[in-house]
């Protein structure tokens, strides 16, 4: 849609509530868009959401630089001589000549538009469809259908015609095409796999088990290696392709704590104190000179200074002198040997792009373009494969409303970028040289959302970065710890407690009370208090309801395919038996009795958590003290005597784990 008349949900609430951010916007002469009247709010439609202007809001700490390289560049001394075709790694948007292919996860639709954004054709897939990659020489597109465990093969010669489907393991997400177009790599989320398909036969060539929560995949220009990214582990999987594929892991987590540990001499709150963890890596992109880039975020859940930590200190896991516990980075991996050695050079750049989620590369200008899901902007990094790597420009996606940019493609023919906004389900074009808007080339809403209007608005709020209403200085968004409404696999230091990030997907509807000690009676209270704990100045009631509506709309996560179904059955029997007593508390559809229990003498009563999606929610216990389900059942966490599992045999533990992972 091209209408310039927008209703401003966020700004309206700012104005109504009189919060500081609105005043800042005016004092800094940031153009303030039209503010809705209170009367209009009742008729807000999700697609009309226009957000507050995003900029640094203060908060007592330094804003993140747009692009600052920490350490030495890994690139070469000269511009790369590249023959690599663009766009062989998957994204939610891809070029087909001058046309554009878009995968809209919300509606589960593959859409084709012309350059102006006019819809030409569409193909219905499953909700959650993730990525597309295009073989233009063969007139084929490959789309991961997350819901139906398949890669849909689409003829793109004219329109969109489904011609085949490659069966995958559970929940395919990332997809990449080899430079010779002969092999397709696919990641699957639930089954934690990377699978290669021989496209000449359509058969699986090989499959590797990878770590939890894999997402993006990219293949090097020479086809010798691939990279796999993850949401909840600070590594990039580096796969040596060839006759005997094997995966190695390159760490993105910093080795040393972010600051001096324990200057006060007080005991550590956790071995993780002061440490930072790379999270939410959705994509990897190869540039030239053997350099690849992985956008991600860095979480520091246990600040080194304990004084004033928690809500009172104004920081989520932070200390009295607030340092943003979430920052965003680009990892530069220098791999000139590409798959022949294990040595990898690494460098990291901090960026103000909030939740950098997707990227594309223009080999001709050696420029990388990165989109921010939380900040709806694009960062252009020039000379990205060279020692002189630097920022070329940063510009907002010209959507004029909440965008949720999660895909970007480079159109070499027009020297333009196409950004897909997942919230408005529309595409927007920007010039590749300056980031300015290409007029008359923005699409209308390309598909209808499967969510209610309220849930759509909640989704937009849930992912919003740089908003001081949500967190101190806008450093954190809900998705910072709950990407895809899941969990980051970390424990955070809050209110003097070490607490695991709860898994949200599929667990929110009908599982009240909330929080580990059950202090929040309903979801609205929980969202309100969480925002307060984040240091946010607050959301209004409608926004809280919207976030709750979104959270309740998120479906249960997919579960891995069991290796042995009979083991799951045995485990279920054990789980429900009096011998273990698991089901005494973990009962009902969400596997919770929604009650408080005294499980340890030094703890207050604890709310029974839902066990939905247990396979994806490690570590376990309220404090994350059990890294695996096995260790939980073997008494290695901080809680002892919960259930009656101490006398289980190794086989019974194994069966019980198999069942619990199926929940």
């Amino acid at each position: 849609m091209r209408s310039t008349s927008r209703i401003v949900l966020a700004l309206s609430s700012l104005a109504l509530c009189g919060v500081a951010a609105g005043a800042q916007a005016r004092s800094k002469s940031v153009p303030v868009k039209q503010i809705a009247s209170q009367k209009q709010i009742g008729s807000i439609h999700a697609m009309d959401i226009i957000e507050e202007p995003q900029f640094f809001h203060g908060g007592g700490f330094m804003p993140a630089p747009d692009f600052a390289l920490d350490g030495q560049p890994v690139g070469g001394a000269k511009a790369p001589v590249s023959t690599q075709p663009a766009g062989l790694h998957g994204s939610s948007v891809a070029m087909v000549g001058t046309d554009v292919l878009v995968v809209d996860a919300d509606s589960g639709t593959l859409i084709r538009t012309d350059r102006a954004g006019t819809k030409l054709a569409s193909l219905t897939l499953g909700v959650g469809a993730a990525q597309v990659v295009v073989d233009d020489a063969a007139n084929r597109a490959y789309v991961t259908d997350r819901k139906h465990d398949r890669v849909v093969v689409v003829d793109i010669a004219d329109g969109l015609t489904e011609v085949d489907a490659l069966r995958t393991q559970a929940e395919p997400f990332g997809v990449a095409l080899s430079p010779d177009r002969g092999t397709l790599l696919v990641t699957t989320v639930a089954d934690k796999s990377l699978t290669a398909f021989d496209l000449s036969t359509g058969f699986e060539a090989w499959s590797l088990t990878v770590g939890p929560e894999p997402r993006g995949v990219a293949i090097s220009p020479n086809g010798k290696e691939a990279l796999v990214t993850f949401l909840t582990t600070g590594v990039v999987g580096r796969v040596a392709l060839g006759d005997d594929p094997r995966i190695d892991y390159v760490s993105m987590d910093p080795a040393a704590p972010s600051s001096t540990i324990n200057p006060t001499g007080l005991p550590k709150t956790s071995d993780d104190q002061g440490r930072s963890f790379a999270r939410n890596a959705f994509a990897a992109v190869y540039a030239g000179n053997g350099v690849a880039v992985v956008p991600h975020q860095l979480s520091t859940p246990h600040a080194s200074n304990e004084f004033g930590a928690g809500e009172g200190g104004g920081g989520y896991g932070g200390g009295g002198n607030f340092a943003a516990p979430i920052t965003h980075r680009l990892a530069f991996l220098g791999m000139p040997d590409q798959g022949t050695k294990s040595s990898v050079d690494t460098a990291f750049a901090t960026t103000s792009v909030h939740q950098p989620r997707a990227a594309t590369y223009d080999a001709a200008s050696d420029t990388l373009f990165v989109v921010g899901y939380g900040s709806d902007d694009v960062l252009a990094v020039a000379d990205v494969s060279q020692a002189g790597v630097h920022m070329a420009w940063k510009a907002p996606v010209p959507s004029g409303r909440a965008c949720g940019a999660d895909g970007i493609a480079f159109d070499a023919g027009s020297d333009e970028l196409v950004v897909f906004c997942s919230l408005s389900r529309s595409t927007h074009r920007m010039t590749a040289r300056s980031g300015s808007q290409v007029s008359d080339a923005q699409s209308d809403e390309l598909a209808k959302s499967h969510l209610s209007a309220s849930a759509q608005r909640g989704q937009a709020i849930f992912r919003r970065g740089n908003s001081p209403r949500i967190s101190t200085g806008g450093a954190m968004a809900c998705t910072s710890c709950h990407a895809e409404a899941r969990a980051d696999g970390l424990t955070w230091f809050l209110e003097g407690n070490v607490l695991q990030t709860p898994f949200l997907s599929g667990r929110m509807k009908g599982s009240a009370p909330f929080k580990w000690d059950g202090t929040d009676a309903d979801l609205s209270a929980s969202v309100t208090n969480t925002v307060s704990r984040l240091g946010g100045t607050g959301l209004n009631k409608q926004e809280i309801r919207d976030v709750a509506a979104f959270l309740e709309s998120v479906p249960e996560p997919r579960t891995p395919q069991p290796e042995e179904k009979v083991a799951v059955a045995r485990g279920k029997k054990l789980f429900e038996s009096d011998a273990t007593g698991c089901a005494e508390c973990h009962s009902g559809p969400l596997l919770t009795d929604r009650s408080l229990h005294q499980i340890a003498p030094d703890l207050p009563a604890v709310d029974t958590p839902s066990l939905v999606g247990l396979a994806n929610s490690a570590p376990y216990y309220h404090d994350g003290s059990a890294p695996t389900l096995q260790s939980l059942l073997r008494g290695k966490g901080s809680i002892h005597g919960m259930g009656r599992t101490s006398k289980l045999s190794e086989g019974q533990v194994s069966d019980l784990v198999a069942y619990m992972e199926s929940l």
Binding site: F67, A68, Q72, S251, A255, D383
Partner: protein, 712 residues
Amino acid sequence: MRMMRPLCVWAAACLIAAVACGPKNDGGTAMPAPAPIAESEAEEPTKPVGLDLPRAEFPGVAHSANIDAVAMCPTGTCAASRDTLGGVRLWTALDGSAEPQPVPLTSVRTMAVAKRGDAYLVFGIEGSSGARLISMRPDGSSREGFALPPFEPVQHVALAPGGERAIVLMKDGSIRVYDPKGTLLTTFDEKRFQPYSVRVSADGKHLLALLRMERSGDFRVEVQRLSFGGTDEAPTLARSGVPHIVRSTFAIEDTSIALAPDASEVAVVGRAKNDGWIVDRFDLASDADPTPLEVKVTQSAQPRIGFVGPERLLVSSNEGTLSWLIDTKTGDLRPRTSAPQDFNHQGRAQWIGAQRQVMGYGNFLFVHDVDTRKHRFLGYGATQGAGVGLSPSGEHVAWAYVQGPVVVERLDGTGEPISIDFGNNNFHTTRVRFLDEDHVVIVDSAGEATLVHWASGTVLARAGVMGNVRNVWVDPEQGLLVIDRHNNEVWVYEASVEKGFEGPYIVADEAYRLGLLRPTPPSELVLWTLDSKNTMRQYTLDELRSDLTAAQSEAMGKAMEAGKPAPLAIDHLGRHYGVRWNGTNLEMFIDHDGKTVASKSVPSSDVNQVLPSPTGDRFLAVLNRGGTVSVSMHDSTTMEPLWSYATGVFNNDTSWSADGRYVGLAANTGAVLLDSATGKPVRKRCGLAFQALSAPPQNAFSSPNQRSLCDL
């Protein structure tokens, strides 16, 4: 005059060698390339600098940043170190006979090292909690032994002497023992047994598990000895001895608790007392109360301890005062050398064991041999460029080094470089400029300017300012030397071979930015200055000679128009260069007579210096991009960049050749002369040399050992 071979120049004058066999590039921590040297010279390796050392057989790689973690072999003959950028080095010898080799591990949190036959094993937990065992050869080649993926997090690792066993403490508290190929030999896993750290005794027969306890007034850790049994192929691991709860008034860290070589006892830094510290000894075979040992170590820093042999405990203060070797049987104290003050890591970056103490000191490794009572600092010194000057013909280049010497050589590489001996040079040279083809002006940091016939070393004249030199200009055509001081004053000399330095003509107009002008009739202006109120002044030579009063100087000022940005530079044509906000975005501009000649949008106001070429057709912009200094050359007509580099560090000096063909850069990572049209290096001066020093190296914390200018 001294005619010197280039390598001798570096080694003798700088204590820095352009290493022929060269530092190699390293994963994540790129290293300077060797300086360009003729092939015949390349075959002549340079001796290491400092103590009398055998030449290292294999060139190594310096740490790119300060060392913040170390581990030592159980035998005390090798070590591994990690720097703050994550680079890991293996030190196959600790006597300086071998240079450190880069280890292909990424972001290592904890590491262990052991010698196994002719190879060295380095076992590390990477940042993401996976573990990797690397087998290294002395020549730096490596292969992976085995790796544990990060999805079952590893808490701690250790290696037994000889490397035959790799001990892994998993985050769930289980202890796994592998052979170097990754075969699981045995597991120790008891319910509710969840140590946070584990260490191996020097005899390899025992482990010590440390279990954290809740704090109750003091800090307490439960220690439990485990002992190996069974066979080499099928070992077993079981509890042995008596568990103890050790206490300290300070947090118990890896370096404040020590295990005896035979695991018979544990020592822990307990508490401060009187003028020293109490170290408690616990007998692991009995439940007897600990035996206190009193040590005279200053209370200002919690000491670090380690057993260097049976019943021999080294207590180190890590703040510069003496260490003490304690006989734990008799309580006798023997003084030992001071560990250097550990500014950054409070003594954590050290390891004590097997007769030795190793510790990070900046990017150097401090090695203390407890038996011989000697110590040394192992690391690399870097060639650091202070200044670079080009002769009017563009045939010669003069390099000034932070370490002192000035060397002149031909741009075409022919002939011998000449090191100028110009008498006492007690202070670092900061700038060198050609007055004419045969003479240079050298200015040191104390403010002395020396006019030298560079080919003979003959000093023709000296003059001086009172230090605080900010920048220096020499205009050969006008015969002017201008010295800009940080005090915001300008000293102008007329310089000539015949008359030496005439002046100074002191301009006290509070200028913080200035430059030379080329008189173009009818204008006779030679100098412009800009003060902090944005008041511009321009002077003729006659005015400078006239000994201006303060009032006269003040009256000459002309305020910049309101809203007009101060120029970063003015070229000899009188054109102003700068950065401004044009109402829509930031732009670099060139203005002349108040009118815009050219402009170009820039992403941010990161341009902090502009250096127009003498010919006016190009200019060099120095940019501060997120902590990284970059330079970019621009066409003065189109403003488009011709080339750019991230130099990485602050540029000490930048200068042009008179014809605008070349531009020279000098930084703490070396110096380089570039073709201004293409950015291609014409001459380079960078390099590192391995050093073993007995005194703390001055450059340990400042020598960047980073990607040098020569890598551009």
